[in-house]
């Protein structure tokens, strides 16, 4: 390397690329100019990773503080520090409870409306992401941490505390973790458990033979004691959890499945009027609350016809 760049110069260029990729989407990652830049010096790949990681670190602030999307009104006042500090207030209060060792034993009810996704830090340092139309009760006791999933879906990142096991109950299904991350979804007569980090133990109350351990990358749809364990790739798990960012990630799901996903979040329902169309496979990343853009994408890529009214978005074959 003749024109030797300092680490700082490389960092400055990496920051520029990281912002471009962040602003223009993942496609920018394949930009030939970026590839050329990366090939010019082996240190640049590390610098780019670091710059992108810094963006991701700042995003974690949002996750941890449980700040929801900015209100539409409010104008210039929003731009100060108020937004961030308001978000931090809740965590500070929660942290205080943990800090003095007094555990709230009254259940805390957390719920979401249709289409709403919340991230809530718990007083023990755990984090819960709550999907659409969900209700759960959290009881943090001195000996145990209990979450009762009344309905819907939630993902838990559990703070390590071997003295106080973290148990989620969904109907008769129990999921116990010590320090790990997993999601639980209650369906009609089934409970879907997927582990993204660490190990959890699941069982069904009153069925002693149903106890089993699930490691990261495994999922199980518990309907009875012999439900098979489904192995999932980290990418698949991550895709299944895209709702935490208000997104639906489709990678070859049928349009029927995709429509069902959107319909979980919106009062305006997608109807696929032709079973052949419902079988079509589709790839894409969408906002949960924008079924219209999904329909438009289907229309252009598959050649379907869209008709919309107040309550429905109808997709039919273009004959």
């Amino acid at each position: 390397m003749t024109s030797f760049q300092s680490a700082k110069e490389i960092d400055d260029e990496a920051a520029q690329w990281a912002v471009l990729i962040d602003g223009r989407g993942l496609g920018a990652q394949d930009d030939p100019k970026l590839q050329l830049w990366l090939a010019g010096d082996p240190r640049r790949a590390g610098a780019l990773l670091r710059a992108q990681a810094a963006i991701s670190l700042l995003d974690r602030g949002r996750a941890l503080a449980g700040v929801e999307a900015a209100p539409v009104t409010g104008g210039a006042r929003l731009f100060g520090r108020r937004g961030l500090i308001a978000g931090l207030g809740g965590v500070g209060a929660a942290a205080l409870v943990g800090g003095v060792g007094v555990w709230a034993s009254r259940p805390q009810r957390l719920d979401t409306q249709l289409g709403e996704v919340r991230r809530v830090p718990l007083a023990d340092g755990s984090l819960v992401a709550i999907n659409t139309k969900t209700a759960l009760d959290v009881t943090l006791g001195a000996r145990s941490r209990l979450v009762t999933l009344r309905r819907g879906e939630a993902w838990f990142q559990v703070a390590k505390d071997p003295q106080r096991p973290f148990v989620v109950s969904a109907g008769k299904v129990r999921v116990r973790a010590v320090g790990t991350a997993f999601s639980v979804r209650r369906g009609e007569g089934t409970v879907d458990v997927t582990v993204s980090e660490g190990v959890v133990e699941t069982w069904i109350e009153g069925q002693p033979g149903s106890r089993r351990r699930l490691a990261a990358g495994a999922g199980v749809l518990l309907a009875g004691p012999i439900s098979p364990v489904i192995v999932k790739s980290p990418a698949e798990i991550e895709r299944g959890l895209a709702w935490r960012n208000g997104e639906i990630a489709l990678d070859g799901e049928s349009l029927g499945e995709a429509a069902a996903q959107f319909n979980r979040y919106n009062s305006r329902q997608i109807l696929i009027e032709d079973p052949r169309l419902a079988q079509e496979r589709f790839v894409g990343l969408f906002r949960t609350n924008e079924p219209e853009s999904f329909a438009a994408a289907v229309a252009t890529s598959i050649g379907a016809k869209v008709s919309e009214d107040e309550r429905y978005i109808r997709l039919s074959l273009n004959e």
Binding site: A14, A53, R62
Partner: protein
């Protein structure tokens, strides 16, 4: 199993980057010149960038210290003059490997404070943009519309802000206070005499 790039980035953002200032401070304490420290840190990220998966890394902080230490030792071995105190100091670090991962309870709060500190340290314009974009999750276009500027301005300010954040991440909070008005170069701290 190969992980997606997004997962690796998220891991580095959550588990590695927050400890960078501590690793740097430790390298400086063991007698590293500022430019050497920069290179060692950069090399560490390069190695991470070359990994297909980070799922085997249980403790990001220990991994960061260990990798930086290995790189430092390789550099010392390559150098013609070996400073004995470097080697002993670095070997003393072996204990780091066994250091328990800090409790998530504390980590979560500390992380949040770190993010808050990083954003508050930015100039007004950058801070507005970062708060809207990162904390409230608006898109670049939405931020531009909200502030009544072009997307280009948002992008330029974001690049400027990210550069400042990347520099701030090299310093522990106490260092940041001390050198707030003196630019961002690390001042190597002289080791005590033996």
């Amino acid at each position: 199993m190969k992980q997606s790039r997004a997962e690796v980035i998220a891991f580095v953002g959550g588990q590695i980057l927050p400890h960078e200032a501590d690793v740097r401070a430790w390298l400086v304490r063991t007698g590293g010149a500022a430019s050497d420290v920069d290179d060692i840190i950069q090399e560490t990220y390069c190695r991470l960038a070359g990994l297909d998966t980070v799922s085997h890394i249980r403790n990001g902080r220990a991994y960061f210290f260990r990798t930086a230490r290995n790189i430092a030792i390789e550099r010392i071995r390559r150098a013609r003059i070996v400073r004995i105190d470097c080697v002993t100091e670095i070997d003393a670090l072996n204990v780091m490997d066994d250091e328990p991962s800090p409790e998530r309870i504390v980590a979560g709060r500390r992380e949040l404070r770190q993010v808050q500190r990083l954003i508050e340290g930015l100039p007004q314009r950058c801070r507005q943009i970062f708060t809207l974009r990162r904390i409230h999750g608006l898109s670049q276009r939405e931020v531009a519309a909200r502030l009544g500027v072009s997307e280009n301005v948002v992008e330029t300010q974001s690049i400027r802000g990210l550069r400042l954040v990347l520099r701030a991440l090299t310093q522990t909070p106490s260092q940041a206070c001390r050198s707030a008005d003196q630019g961002h170069d690390l001042v190597p701290v002289r080791k005590r005499d033996r």
